[in-house]
Structure formats: C-alpha cells, structure tokens
C-alpha cells in the first residue's frame, strides 16, 4: 500500500512536471521563438539592435530566468535590452513554465557548468580576504567605471558617447550574485550568451583574486536587486 502511494505520488509529480514543460514549450513556441530561436541559440533572421542572448549558454538559474521573463531585462538593470516584461500577458503559472521549459530544454547543465568553473577558480586564503574590498574598489574605478559608472548605475563616461553602441548594465539592479558576477567578469559576455563583445573577458589581465575582489566590491557596495524598480 505504501509503495503504491509512493508510486502514485511520483507519477503525479512527473505528470505535473511534464505538464509544466509542455505548457512552457507551447508558450515558448508562440512567443519566444522569434527572437531566441527554435533551439535557444538566438540564431534567427530577426534584425535587432541587440541580438538576444543565447539561452543555451545562460548563466542564469531557472528562478532568475523567471524573474527576467516576468519583469523584463530593463527592470533588472539592462539599459537597452529588447527583452520585455511578460507580466501582463501571462499568468504566474505560465511565466514559471516558460523558465522551466527553457532551463530543461536549452541549459539543463547550466548550474553544473557554473559550479565546475567556480570550483576551478583560485580559493582566496583567509589572510587575503581583508584586502579584497580595497583591491576591488581600485580596479572597479580603474576599469569597470568607464562603462558601468562610479556608482554602478550603467552610466559611465564611455556609455554616454553617442557614437558607441554599448549598453552597460546598471549593476545596482542585477540579478547576478557575487559568484555569478565573478564568472561573468572572468569569462566575458560572449561566453555567457551575448553576441557582442561589449563585456570582455578580464581573465588575461587579472587573476582570480582580483576578479573576485571586483565582484565582492560590487556585491557589497552597490547591488540591491530587492530595491529594483
């Protein structure tokens, strides 16, 4: 009897997961496919100012993807992303099903990829941790602030040049946590699915200690996604 109950429970879970997958797939095909493509690589014929990210290379968790689908990229710090909010178009259950489908279909190993890359990075010795904020602040001001601005609002001097076509993020609103920011800075935007080299990889210039220091400085000094509007 107990086994039968467990079997029914498992079956019910599988069924509801499959239903969620199918719901997400249906909405994806109706709405998302024109920009992100049939396989999530964003290789489509659409001519957009900012080519959509390849979902197959995403650094985002399923929850973070859901938040971006729901509120749109601009809400979370993008300055010119074409990813709109679908909050008024789809119900909560539908929004979550899209993120669920995208994660399962296009990036099922994303979390493992992130964890593996982080595990390969240098561990910061306890004795050096107290130096991270000072180092992070120095390098942020030296390099990152050109595009992201001194207060990390995405309004650096280079971003105001009318001849540029870069769209730096407002890092005060970003959903990326400290670990994700480290990996994004280290490997650069193209590695994580963008199609333009606006956010370069800094791994040739700086070691893991410095890049982790930058991420910590941003996390501790600027990032407040709970206050994003």
């Amino acid at each position: 009897m107990k086994y039968l109950f467990l079997l029914l429970l498992a079956g019910s879970f599988l069924h509801s997961s499959d239903a969620k997958y199918e719901m997400g797939k249906k909405i994806y095909k109706a709405t998302c496919i024109s920009c992100h493509g049939v396989d999530g690589t964003s290789n489509t014929d659409m001519k957009l100012v900012v080519k959509p990210r390849a979902l197959s290379k995403t650094i985002l968790t399923e929850e973070q993807s859901y938040q971006i689908i729901k509120k749109g990229a601009r809400y979370w710090g993008a300055s010119a992303d074409m990813m709109p909010s679908f909050d008024s178009i789809y119900a909560e259950e539908e929004l979550r099903s899209i993120a669920y489908y995208m994660t399962k279909a296009f990036s099922p190993n994303a979390q493992k990829r992130i964890d593996d890359l982080y595990a390969q990075s240098d561990v910061i010795p306890e004795a050096k941790k107290s130096k991270m904020m000072k180092r992070g602040k120095k390098i942020y001001k030296r390099n990152c602030s050109w595009c992201h601005g001194l207060e990390a609002k995405g309004d650096g001097e280079a971003s105001r040049n009318p001849e540029l076509s870069i769209f730096p993020y407002d890092l005060t609103k970003t959903l990326l946590n400290e670990k994700q920011m480290f990996l994004y800075i280290k490997y650069g935007g193209i590695f994580w699915g963008t199609h333009k080299d606006d956010m370069p990889s800094w791994s040739k210039k700086y070691d893991d200690f410095t890049i982790k220091s930058i991420a910590k400085y941003i996390e501790d000094s600027f990032r407040k996604p709970d206050e994003a509007k």
């Binding site: 390099n143 595009c147 001849e163 540029l164 040739k204």
Partner: protein, 100 residues
C-alpha cells in the same frame, strides 16, 4: 638661410620626435615602440568606439581619459625604461614602450 637651418635644428632637438600609435580593432598598432626621452606619442583612435590609454609607470605616469573615435591625444615620454601602456576599457590591448 643659415639662420633658418639653425632654427630647424634647435627646434628638432628641443621637441624630439613624434610617434603615432593607432588604436584599431581593439589593438595598439604597432604594439611595441622604441622612443627617446622627450619624444611624444600621439594616440589615434580609428575604432568606432571609445578607447583610453594609461600607464602606471612611475617615470611616465599618464592617463589620457576617454578618447572618442577620431580624436588624437599626445603625451610626452618623460623617463627612461620599458613600460606598458594599456586601455582601461579593453583588457587585451597592450603597448610596450622602450624609452632611452
């Protein structure tokens, strides 16, 4: 005529040579340079986006700030030695200057 020649010689000696470095395709061209102390380096920007050039070398410290496309900026080499010039915006840009 003699005076003009003399003036030219004095002027050349006073101001040193000028070396042009282009920033194109997110690269310093050329990527290495031999200069004399007192020479100048003109940084051009042939890319359609902003660049920067700076060095933390103690004898030659400079930072040209944001350099818009098409804008030229000139700096003077003040001290001898080998030092690197980088772009603060594009991490893979590197220029090695050897000053004698």
């Amino acid at each position: 005529m003699k005076n003009i020649l003399l003036a030219l010689l004095v002027t050349t000696g006073l101001f040193g040579a000028n070396h042009v470095i282009d920033q194109k395709g997110k690269t310093f061209i050329p990527h290495s340079l031999s200069v004399a102390v007192g020479d100048t380096i003109t940084f051009k920007n042939s890319d359609p986006f902003a660049h920067n050039a700076y060095t933390d070398d103690e004898a030659n410290e400079f930072d040209i700030g944001m350099q818009s496309p098409g804008k030229d900026v000139k700096v003077t080499v003040k001290g001898a030695g080998t030092f690197n010039v980088e772009c603060a915006i594009h991490p893979n840009m590197l220029l090695e200057v050897n000053a004698k």
